[in-house]
Symmetry: C2
């Protein structure tokens, strides 16, 4: 035991010794990267344009098309070695006219509720839908109630995100099945509609949309699904306790269309030593339609563009080919991520590292890594380089949705996701208040700098 | 070398061994503390009342008086062992009617500028003041220009906060002398007034006030000092390059009054083992007058109150007497902090630990400590307990203005300041946008929980 411990300690000393030597020059370059982002950054201005001149960018929308055009032009202005569009067919779903809904406690006694259609939902019947409501906290509770209690009614999923979880992504993970599969599950028991408590840790009036699936539900059994604001959910729940027979009315005009042509936007700096090995950094260009998608994921897009801009600006010549990819259709299809991976597979483009930023433009706390132990040990030896920037929380964990398919195709060695502070993310996520003003310039720039620094280290030291 | 290293490593193993044993029960209590703050917290509601029902709380104002009354009542409701007011005379300075100013490039050609009086400034002469402007970046530059270039003119200090510093407090420290001593320095060369670029890293239209001093300047030589918004400063600077002879006009109605009676608000839980030894936690109850002081320092006040509430809520019986002190007059006098320390000295109340929260209600990153090596080593052994909450950045450094006098009087062993994320702090600091909406509930609550956890550890393990 003692001998093993000593061995471990000795290795740790040697590793520290090495990383100390490495750190000196690396820390200088990383400081230069941070200075460039904070003093002379482009990310915030790009985001301003995307958010305020273009706006929301739901797949298949005019906004998405304009964002493809704009970001391609901006990448071209950076003087990269190559900029191109990668064709991808995407689903198109439109919200239509604004949703309307109310709670009716007795004939003529109505109170408005703040709802929005979930992405992918069918519309309500013409003239809207009115029915009794059954509140449940879980699919288990739904199953216990069964067809007798559910048939002909609207199911109201009201399990809140868990406030005591420090990582809000975990709280999202614990609640989002209600949104994603709530309609499919409720339809099994003959429900006529679904209301889902918004994925939001705050109490406010914003309904939060997001993707949903009907699974294998036959088309004639599809039921309309909406999100209700957290304030609205609390109000509905309290009112149900007073008046269990209340009626909920809603009208939604959303619908799905034929797939349309769209694109991933890609730019690259050719590697000087390994031009046919790749490092990729990206975010997703599409957004939901309620806000302007500044946090989700305008921030990740402009940070990823900024990585290549900074590397050029400081005159760094990468060994590997470094690509930025602005993925299309992360929100409701992941078609862009799948297409990029399929093309990489087809062309035999192996990626040593893929980095995604899709958790908001907040102060970076660090990164999570999908890597084997050997590579993770190397990565951990870089932590101290990020200490002065308080971005040194390096953990093993997931990376990102858009780079996931690269792993599935076996075309990447190490994957990572930027981990910004997560406390405010769900205040804005998929809601009308996900707007430019919610992004702080310095926080955004610190994220871009952390990402550039990490890409620099992977390019310099490679992977095992 | 090797032997010494082995010794250090051995000690480190032993220490780790001990702290591992300790951590198990401590981590359970700390989890309970966090759960209480996040699920069943009072801090956000208190802040809501202070900010939205009371508003700004400049020393000597009605708001300050109402805040004393409100917080005393709230502490009384917690069932503490003792709640009282500590009398303290405070300076009173009022802004008067809104300031007005413009830039005049030629007769009749004027552009409005966003300014506010600095705290403690004399007013402009009746009817306002109009003069040419000399822009400088430092006191050194001022000295080089000398009386010939300065006399009869308004000095415009335009050195920005340094954007490349990661800790924004450091950037503030590098720029704030312009605000604090700018008038005193300019008066030496016969300047008639002073304009200071706001202490703000953003570009926006908010002027940021803050305290200033005339030092030993004779009364007949006092000149009016204002802050200009960062956008205004950039505009004035650019216009000066085109038209160096432009005139700047401003009118301010501020003035100083006689000192008035006010109070520190204090509550305590009596220690079960060491009732005459103290742990204190606090923030300052006064604020500037432009916003409602939610970040500076309503947040610190309600977090400090929350520490005692949580300890009672979870049924923790402290060994030491634990006090919350809401200090009056931090902003323009520090009279409350000085009074509390003087009384502690007079009564021989030794404090083993003093903690201050006065850096905004943002996600906590950790704490800085003013402690000797022995105590700091003990503190460092607690870091891992804060890792799950990402509040484990423990450094040596300053603590806080209000607890500083305790150290000066020799009445405290270890001092600490909460270190929240600092990126957004100067967006709001001393400006009209320091309002309730700028505080995120979870971020505030995480700070209160981190503070409570630290107080718990100091109470349990004491100091050397």
């Amino acid at each position: 035991m003692k001998k093993a411990l000593f061995l471990i300690l000795s290795i740790s000393i040697i590793t520290n010794g090495l990383s100390q030597k490495v750190n000196k020059e690396d820390s200088t370059i990383i400081k230069e990267i941070y200075n460039t982002s904070l003093i002379d950054g482009a990310s915030y201005d790009w985001l301003d344009y995307m958010s305020n001149n273009i706006g929301s960018r739901l797949s298949g929308s005019l906004g998405a098309e304009l964002a493809v055009k704009y970001t391609k032009e901006q990448l071209e202005e950076l003087g990269l070695d190559k900029v191109w569009l990668q064709s991808v067919m995407v689903p198109k779903w439109t919200r239509g006219g604004k949703e309307f809904s109310y709670i009716e406690t007795s004939p003529g006694m109505t109170t408005q509720a703040d709802i929005c259609a979930l992405g992918g939902s069918v519309p309500t019947p013409y003239g809207g839908l009115k029915a009794e409501v059954v509140e449940v906290m879980s699919f288990e509770e739904l199953a216990v109630l069964g067809k007798d209690e559910i048939e002909g009614k609207i199911v109201f999923y009201n399990r809140p995100m868990q406030a005591d979880l420090i990582q809000t992504m975990g709280a999202y993970g614990g609640a989002v099945s209600q949104r994603y599969a709530g309609a499919e599950e409720a339809a099994k028991y003959g429900a006529v509609g679904v209301i889902v408590r918004s994925m939001n840790l705050r109490l406010d009036d914003y309904p939060h949309t997001g993707t949903m699936s009907y699974g294998d539900t036959p088309e004639h059994l599809l039921i309309p699904a909406c999100a209700i604001s957290t304030n609205g959910a609390n109000y509905l729940s309290a009112t149900l306790k007073l008046q269990p027979k209340l009626l909920f009315y809603y009208s939604m005009n959303c619908r799905a269309h034929q797939d349309v042509q769209s694109y991933n936007v890609i730019g690259e700096i050719k590697g000087s030593v390994y031009p046919n090995k790749y490092i990729v950094v990206g975010g997703h260009l599409d957004s939901w339609d309620l806000g302007d998608g500044s946090q989700d994921d305008g921030a990740g897009c402009v940070q990823s563009m900024e990585v290549l801009r900074i590397l050029k600006k400081i005159g760094y010549q990468p060994k590997y080919t470094i690509r930025v990819v602005l993925f299309m259709n992360e929100e409701n299809g992941l078609r862009g991520g799948k297409k990029y991976a399929a093309e990489a597979k087809r062309k035999g483009e192996h990626h040593i590292f893929a980095l995604e930023s899709d958790a908001g433009g907040f102060t970076p706390r660090g990164f999570s890594f999908d890597a084997n132990d050997v590579n993770f040990n190397q990565i951990k030896s870089w932590e101290s380089l990020f200490e002065p920037y308080l971005a040194n929380w390096f953990t093993k964990g997931g990376s990102g949705a858009d780079i996931g398919p690269l792993k599935k195709e076996g075309m990447v060695t190490v994957l990572s996701g930027l981990r910004p502070d997560s406390q405010r993310y769900f205040d804005y996520h998929h809601a009308a208040n996900d707007v430019f003003e919610s992004v702080n310039k310095r926080e955004l720039e610190l994220g871009a700098a952390a990402m550039t620094s990490l890409i620099y280290l992977f390019d310099k030291y490679g992977v095992k």
